[in-house]
């Protein structure tokens, strides 16, 4: 069951990455993974490698852009930052997420109420 729980939807991960970059500014892959783990507090255990599949997908869609830079520890790393199109997508997706989670929440409450 634990594995099931960590299997997060592709779209959800996209949304989390976009939100993270929107909130934190440019970050490297490790930073994004760490941030999502912190926020998820063990409830969401991501295989850190999968974050890169999500990143390349978002880059291909021009929602984020990537550039090599230097990390706080003076290490070469690739930094990702959200683009204008990415912000628009984030707003649209966030609204969508609110709506869907609201519906699901109500539905679940309704079922448990029976």
């Amino acid at each position: 069951m634990a594995e099931r729980r960590s299997e997060i939807l592709q779209g959800t991960l996209d949304l989390m990455v976009l939100k993270t970059l929107d909130a934190m500014g440019p970050l490297h892959g490790y930073g994004i993974a760490k941030r999502i783990e912190q926020v998820g507090r063990e409830a969401l255990r991501v295989n850190q490698g999968t974050i890169y599949l999500c990143l390349v997908r978002l880059v291909n869609r021009r929602w984020i852009s990537a550039a090599w830079g230097t990390s706080e520890n003076n290490r070469k790393a690739k930094f990702y930052s959200i683009t204008h199109a990415g912000r628009k997508q984030l707003i649209a997706e966030a609204a969508n997420w609110e709506r869907v989670s609201g519906v699901i929440g109500r539905l679940l409450r309704l079922e448990s109420g029976l």
Partner: protein
């Protein structure tokens, strides 16, 4: 939508930057691992623990890399590109193979494309008019003599009045006329057409207007249309002189119109109404040509009512013709009419068979070359694939699927298709040009442009791809069906050939057989040409120079002027330095068109070839006079009519008796025979002796239009001297088209020369390919069995025995190929029989010498590997393992 498109673009781009993106990702993962490790150490882990934990957290690098590729690129395109990349590399590594494959394919497909293009243009391409399928030609057909004829004007009028299946029915005739206008004064092809001609074709003029029915009358007939090629809208309203008669230009005909008939050579340039022929041709008026059913001079073309089939029109036209035959039995008893779809009847129907036949022969030759190419390609690919068995075995054992390997091999074949197609087009273009420009290639003056158009391009590409895929597939399937372990254990030269040998031997037999067939064809046509050159023509070609000039229509004032000017001129030409004698004739040597005429004596009536010739003709041309005399200057229009016959005609009309002084009636004109000459092949090199009747040019209705000059030494060098003298005296009929008799003979032999060249070239290429095939198979066999041969020689086998074994196999293959080639050639021979002239198509000498040639070449090809086998040093061979 835009996002999707952008993503697709990025993915496609990613496939092409694979290596860069891979290393970029590797660096990214590295830095990720390093950061994880640092964090771990900071949290108090031992360095090795931290590294292990970091790897676990990140996940498997190899899988990640693979997943990254799939996510960022297109897996399908990616593997395709990989295949292409790999295929290119392996083709580059074997330049000899690649060049051989591309060249063979290029030649095979190019030859087919050129022939296909010519066939398409001559037989199938629709005419360039709106709804060409509605256009149909009506030809008169003599049921008794089974020949096609032109139609008479009254017949055309009856057909036009009674038909219900044709919307419009037109008649026209093409003739060269002198056209003067502005500062131009030249002989141009002119079409005289009925008033409905252009509306029937639905060919609107580019400027001005087209003929109408009311233009087509003697009263309204002085109007003309001119081709866009020589005039523009500004010419409308201007005057043009046709045979010195003034016409007004009313319209410009688009230059894409080349006439509906291909076998007249040059396209028409000027059009006049049909009735106006009586204005420009006084003789037509005298003959009352528009009311004579006996005068057959028109071609009839029409546009069918929508939805009417050619068959229905045929049925109706035939009924009308039968009606005419009943009401006018004297002229039309045997005349029927045959309707052809105009796109099919692009030339005189009687020519269709001969054109189709010679095109078919070439198509078969090209087809053979293609088959041969395929056999050769298959062999090349098979050789190559067998050489790569270990590579495949390794890839299979590393987990590559068989499908993937087959796909890889097919990619290689397809990559060959592209350059092959380019090579093929280049070859097709060249060959097509040669075919179109080769004078008299089809034995007829066909106006083909030999262009390579889109349909042909598609044909070529389809053929390239189909050939390479089809013939790449068999070796691909065969070589990937290998057991991995034995193949891996194989070391270069102990491979057992397995099932390939049978396929290879079959391919070799086929190659030898095809080369044999092509070479036999080349040999037959070649011998035919040699026969043509060596045959006794009955006249002397060397030193003979001919030139044509345009004779005005008979009966016109211009014709009389020309005739009187010629009288002294011929003698002066004969006195020029280097000239022996000069004369006039109605046709040059090897003209092949026979003007036929009826001869009647008291007890016989036969048809003979009629030639009108000037004084001194036989002396000049070199046809021997057997008895009597030649024509001379006294045989003029006022003198009694005289004739000369050849010996065959004399023997037919007066067997065993003296023909001199006899009377004959030629088209109801009484003539007296004054001479008998030897038979000759003046008209056509292949003709058996025919009935030849010679009449005096000065007494004939139609004046001669060829000057014939006997020279000493080089005839071509005298052309300008002769032209200067002639043109100074008769500038309105300048000499043109100087040809020596030898040139004319070579043009007459053109169909055979072309066929000999094509078959010979294809055949030589075929035999080279076949011998390379034999050589490579045998060389491979020897290399493969070096060890076995070494052992056998160590055990006491003599080199001679080894040689015999290798040669034995090659000669068995070659023998089977030669036998197959001979039998197929013998079967096919009768199809080329009409084109192979002067010798039998079962010419034993040709068959035997080609068989000997093929056998020798095969022997030589096998001798090199056999020698190599005989020189194998047993010790070295055994130690090599």
């Amino acid at each position: 939508m835009w996002t999707l498109f952008q993503e697709l673009a990025s993915r496609i781009a990613a496939c092409f930057r694979r290596r860069g993106l891979d290393s970029d990702f590797d660096r990214e993962l590295e830095s990720h691992l390093a950061m994880l490790e640092e964090d771990g150490i900071r949290r108090g882990m031992a360095p090795h623990q931290a590294r292990r934990a970091a790897r676990l957290t990140l996940g498997g690098a190899a899988q990640l890399r693979e997943a990254h590729r799939t996510t960022r690129g297109l897996p399908f395109l990616d593997s395709l590109l990989q295949d292409v990349h790999y295929a290119l590399r392996s083709l580059r590594k074997t330049p000899a193979f690649t060049a051989a494959a591309v060249l063979t394919l290029g030649i095979g497909i190019g030859a087919n494309t050129a022939i296909f293009s010519t066939i398409d243009e001559a037989l199938f391409r629709p005419l360039d008019f709106p709804r060409p399928e509605q256009l149909a030609d009506v030809f008169a057909f003599n049921k008794a003599s089974r020949t096609f004829l032109s139609s008479s004007y009254p017949d055309y009028e009856d057909l036009r009045a009674r038909t219900t299946t044709f919307q419009r029915l037109s008649a026209f005739v093409r003739m060269p006329l002198s056209v003067a206008w502005g500062d131009r004064d030249e002989r141009l092809p002119v079409e005289a057409v009925t008033g409905n001609f252009f509306s029937m074709l639905e060919l609107p003029p580019v400027a001005g207007r087209a003929f109408r029915d009311d233009d087509d009358s003697i009263a309204g007939g002085r109007v003309a249309m001119v081709s866009e090629e020589i005039a523009d809208a500004g010419s409308i309203g201007g005057k043009i002189l046709v045979e010195d008669e003034p016409f007004t230009i009313i319209g410009i005909v688009p230059k894409r119109y080349h006439g509906t008939n291909l076998n007249w050579g040059q396209p028409p340039q000027v059009w006049i109404p049909l009735q106006a022929t009586a204005i420009v041709h006084p003789r037509f008026r005298a003959l009352d040509i528009f009311h004579q059913r006996a005068m057959q001079w028109l071609l009839v073309t029409g546009r069918l009512e929508p939805g009417v089939s050619v068959a229905r029109a045929q049925a109706e036209i035939q009924t009308i013709a039968a009606g005419i035959a009943q009401s006018a039995p004297a002229t039309n008893r045997d005349i029927s009419e045959i309707v052809f779809s105009a796109s099919r009847a692009k030339f005189w129907p009687a020519y269709r068979t001969s054109i189709t036949r010679s095109l078919t022969v070439f198509a078969v030759a090209a087809g053979l070359v293609l088959l041969l190419t395929c056999a050769n390609l298959s062999n090349l690919l098979l050789n190559r694939a067998v050489g790569r068995r270990r590579e495949f075995a390794i890839r299979l054992s590393l987990g590559a699927g068989r499908g993937r390997l087959v796909r890889q091999l097919l990619t290689e074949s397809l990559l060959l298709a592209l350059p092959s197609c380019a090579a093929a087009l280049a070859i097709a273009y060249g060959l097509g040009g040669i075919l179109a420009r080769f004078p008299n290639a089809w034995g007829l003056p066909l106006a083909l442009d030999g262009s390579v158009e889109n349909r042909v391009l598609c044909f070529c590409m389809a053929l390239s791809v189909a050939t390479t895929v089809l013939f790449g597939l068999a070796p691909a399937l065969q070589t990937t069906r290998i057991a991995v372990l034995p193949a891996l254990k194989e070391s270069g030269n102990t491979v057992s050939g397995g099932g390939h040998d049978g396929l290879r031997n079959l391919l070799l037999v086929l190659q030898v057989a095809f080369s044999m067939i092509l070479l036999v064809g080349g040999g037959l046509f070649g011998r035919s040409v040699m026969r043509g050159w060596s045959i006794d023509l009955g006249f002397r070609t060397e030193g003979l120079l001919t030139a044509g000039f345009s004779a005005p229509p008979p009966g016109s004032a211009a014709a009389e002027r020309l005739r009187s000017a010629q009288r002294g001129l011929i003698e002066r030409l004969g006195a020029l330095p280097g000239v022996e004698s000069a004369t006039l004739a109605s046709d040059p040597p090897q003209n092949q068109l026979h003007s036929r005429t009826q001869i009647q004596t008291i007890d016989a009536a036969i048809t003979a070839d009629r030639h009108s010739v000037g004084p001194g003709f036989f002396h000049t041309v070199g046809i021997g006079l057997l008895s009597g005399r030649e024509f001379n200057a006294r045989d003029d229009a006022a003198a009694p009519k005289v004739a000369i016959v050849n010996q065959t005609l004399a023997a037919r009309l007066w067997p065993g008796a003296n023909p001199l002084g006899r009377s004959i009636a030629v088209q109801k004109v009484a003539m007296q025979v004054v001479g008998v000459v030897r038979d000759s092949r003046y008209g056509s090199v292949w003709d058996e002796p025919r009935f030849d009747l010679y009449v005096a040019d000065s007494q004939a209705g139609a004046p001669a239009s060829y000057l014939i000059v006997r020279t000493r030494g080089n005839p071509a060098g005298l052309a300008s001297t002769v032209a200067k003298e002639w043109n100074g005296h008769v500038p309105r009929s300048p000499l043109a088209d100087f040809r020596t008799a030898d040139e004319l003979l070579s043009v007459a032999l053109a169909p055979q020369r072309l066929a000999a060249a094509v078959f010979g070239a294809f055949g030589l290429m075929a035999i080279v390919l076949a011998s390379v095939g034999i050589y490579s198979v045998m060389a491979y066999a020897v290399a493969r069995r070096t060890r076995e041969i070494g052992i056998r020689m160590a055990m006491g086998a003599k080199p001679a025995m080894v040689v015999r074994q290798i040669l034995g196999r090659s000669m068995a293959v070659a023998g089977a190929g030669v036998a197959a080639g001979i039998s197929i050639s013998a079967l096919l021979a009768r199809f080329v029989a009409p084109q192979v002239k002067g010798i039998s198509v079962y010419d034993g000498g040709t068959f035997a010498s080609v068989a000997a040639l093929v056998g020798t070449v095969a022997f030589l090809a096998a001798a090199i590997p056999a020698r190599r086998a005989a020189r194998i040093d047993p010790q070295a061979a055994l130690r090599a393992e």
